[in-house]
Symmetry: C2
Subunit: 232 residues, 2 copies
């Protein structure tokens, strides 16, 4: 019985499910792999955890390397750890998956680590026509489920909005992620009734057409009570 005691070859990585809203669609950041296995294929960004780094630190570092964005401004939470034997054909690898949510982020810049990174609509990335490396499709699926669920009972939806934002912007997040329409007036009431979900700035922004909307910033509340209900 070969009990694993830290001497067998084992690797620990972090992988990132990074979501943003682009062109009215929920999109995920994928990279083109530059080395085997799955060379040339698409994968979630990620990499090894370094010696003196904690897990969140490793996730933040990868986030910066792949998007050039200061991760401190995004929502970042641990998703789950995947470690089924054989998920990496080379060596036993455990990956700690993180979920990151942010407003429309700068397009990856050529000439950096992020050169091979690109945004893809989540629906497309999960369709049978796209094959992701390793078990990244399952990880992406779980990230999507988590994001959808968290909109209900937390205020993370605001993490998708560039500050300052309008209530229509915020509603748009729910509508895109949940793929349904919400009543603007009832949505408004719910958000404003929740304590410190958003705080008004007093400023307004005019849409292309129509009455200008008031602008808000994120409030301090994390838990949303009462929760936003997802219609059947």
């Amino acid at each position: 019985m070969s009990k694993y005691d830290g001497t067998a070859p084992v690797a620990v990585t972090v992988d990132l499910v990074i979501f943003t809203l682009r062109e009215s669609a929920l999109q995920v950041l994928l990279i083109e792999r530059g080395k085997p296995p799955f060379m040339g294929g698409l994968a979630l960004p990620g990499g090894f955890v370094r010696d003196h780094e904690d897990l969140r630190g490793a996730a933040l570092r990868e986030l910066g390397e792949e998007t050039g964005v200061d991760g401190a401004k995004l929502h970042l939470e641990q998703l789950r750890t995947f470690g089924t034997p054989g998920r990496d054909p080379r060596v036993r690898t455990f990956t700690v998956a993180y979920l990151a949510l942010g407003p429309d982020l700068p397009a990856p810049v050529a000439g950096t680590d992020a050169a091979h990174a690109r945004w893809m609509p989540v629906a497309q990335a999960l369709s049978p026509s796209v094959e992701l490396a390793f078990d990244h499709q399952a990880i992406l699926r779980e990230g999507l489920d988590r994001a959808r669920g968290k909109l209900e009972y937390t205020t993370v939806a605001a993490a998708f909005c560039q500050e300052p934002f309008t209530l229509a912007d915020l509603r748009h997040v729910y509508e895109v992620v949940w793929d349904l329409d919400l009543d603007p007036s009832n949505f408004r009431r719910k958000v404003l009734k929740a304590d410190d979900f958003v705080v008004p700035t007093g400023a307004f922004r005019a849409p292309e057409v129509g009455r200008p909307a008031e602008l808000y910033r994120r409030g301090r509340t994390e838990l949303l009570y009462p929760p936003m209900v997802r219609p059947a």
Copy 2:
């Protein structure tokens, strides 16, 4: 820059937060460590993940070794992975924490691996008078928070009940875990209205005093809708 690539000495373990209800208190299974570090101290049960084992499999195996219980009958879910450098003084160790919930389990049996295991009320294990090994206090705290939260919007409360159980048994779970009282009549209505949370057996059990109560089994629903609301 020493990028970690799987050759540095690293260990991966699973640790278990196992909750049950004993003597009207939420209790957690702790073991007395038989070897350094923290020899003689209290810790969550756990151990190394073996070569060909997946994470859930390792958790189930540890569960069986420590409690003698077939884990297939308990609720078992991944909690979070902890990997801050230095959390184990010997070697860089990542631990995947699992949360297990079950009905009052058989007391640990002398002469087995479980000989040094014991139940302790969670309130006591988290009090300043008790010091747990490694970062196990933080893990326990997170397990408690997760369990409390999950009672609201899932049916896991039933995992604490030995089948068949009465609605009073089930209500008792909520009252102990949340440390408050619930109105029996309203609780009853909520549980019965939720589709397939519990299913009646037709049998009854007489309490020490009072009218006999109908007995139920767990239903198939995992998500509880509408959720159970935790009074302020």
